[in-house]
Symmetry: C2
Subunit: 253 residues, 2 copies
Amino acid sequence: MKVVLIGSGNVATHLGIALKEAGHQILQVWSKTLLHGKVLADILHSSATDDLTKIDQEGEIYIIAVKDDFISEVAAGLNLKHQILVHTSGTVSLDQLAAHADRCGVFYPLQTFSKNKSIGFLTVPVLVEGNTQEVGEVLFTLAGTISNQACEMSSEERSVLHVAAVFACNFSNHLYALSEKILQDRGIDFNLLKPLIAETAAKIQHYPPADVQTGPAIRNDLLTLARHKELLNNYPDLKDIYEILSNSIMRSK
Amino acid sequence: MKVVLIGSGNVATHLGIALKEAGHQILQVWSKTLLHGKVLADILHSSATDDLTKIDQEGEIYIIAVKDDFISEVAAGLNLKHQILVHTSGTVSLDQLAAHADRCGVFYPLQTFSKNKSIGFLTVPVLVEGNTQEVGEVLFTLAGTISNQACEMSSEERSVLHVAAVFACNFSNHLYALSEKILQDRGIDFNLLKPLIAETAAKIQHYPPADVQTGPAIRNDLLTLARHKELLNNYPDLKDIYEILSNSIMRSK
């Protein structure tokens, strides 16, 4: 398909590369920062603009990959006729695009993207939704060209999935960061934790996470819990997190 | 070395297998539940007992791998002379063994063990500590026979490492479990999150976690944060966790 990318951040970059590699043509990249747009356009053998009024009208699909709060604003500036307009957000409803395009939808790749780390897109679930059956089918087919895990999902279900993803991904990563901070303050090498982090994530590929819970809270090891809280006395924020999560684990038994 | 294993849980099982595979001899397995001891002893071509007074005195090293709260009790029952006595806990101090053996130490494999999932022990950091330099060296050498990541560490540092491991591993796994619960209640397949979980853990093998933080909190995406909290209205406990971790991420910027 002929694709116009609206955005030049992590999602736009990885999605653009995956679409390009699958044989689609990236007509143009829009970014509010022209330099960022040009960097991505170069990678995609495309051109860049920072002016919404100069968006190429020859595209078949316009993919908005900007911060959730700006989706409506950008969509309003696009002035499309019958081309398909989609956003890539896990949380924003399809309705937010309906005022700006006859044919609209959602094209949500469920993955955590970092600019400098390449991704095997084939295993990334892509959740699609169209405002009509026809659009839904086009998006499902497009998703199938870059992923083995294309799947139609309503806005409501997608937002539940997104909350769950925040717990599983964003919060876990933050816990990794907190553990690194605890170690750094004492001059202990964070590398020691890496095999543990890898194994914890590997386990749940095959076992329900609740079944493989380990640690002092699930063992009701009150002595260790008390010692840990004492060790965190200098970190009141971390102590609160330690308590709320340990209590949640104990309740889950 | 000639090893006596005190315990038959996850740590005893994986450690026993790794030691056996490295050519050490497991003389005996003690377990308070004789059947559990026999199951492990069978795997290790060893014998089992549930009677501390019948512990084989021919061992060179006695490895206690029981719940932290029982370490002292079990150590007191052993009645060793000059054999080395170690525990495998991240949190319990070496001092707790000093009253029960002249030569004592800690042999702490930093990994999350589940009974039915095998582990490549070579990459598991094994943190050792001896009450004398001689014991420290014996333990370091023993650790080096099963792991490429043997390292001496004091009780104090080890307990900091253990707290950090609870954040990085136990708490992350619990967040996976919570995300599965959120999805299950709405009939959405938890498998959709598995590539995301794998990538989140894979990323930090190469990047500092704080540098690859994604999600609404780090983007200060207030609209999404508000929507997510609304979606969690029926889960007051999860809403609390969502708030405390999102606030912590926002403060970390």
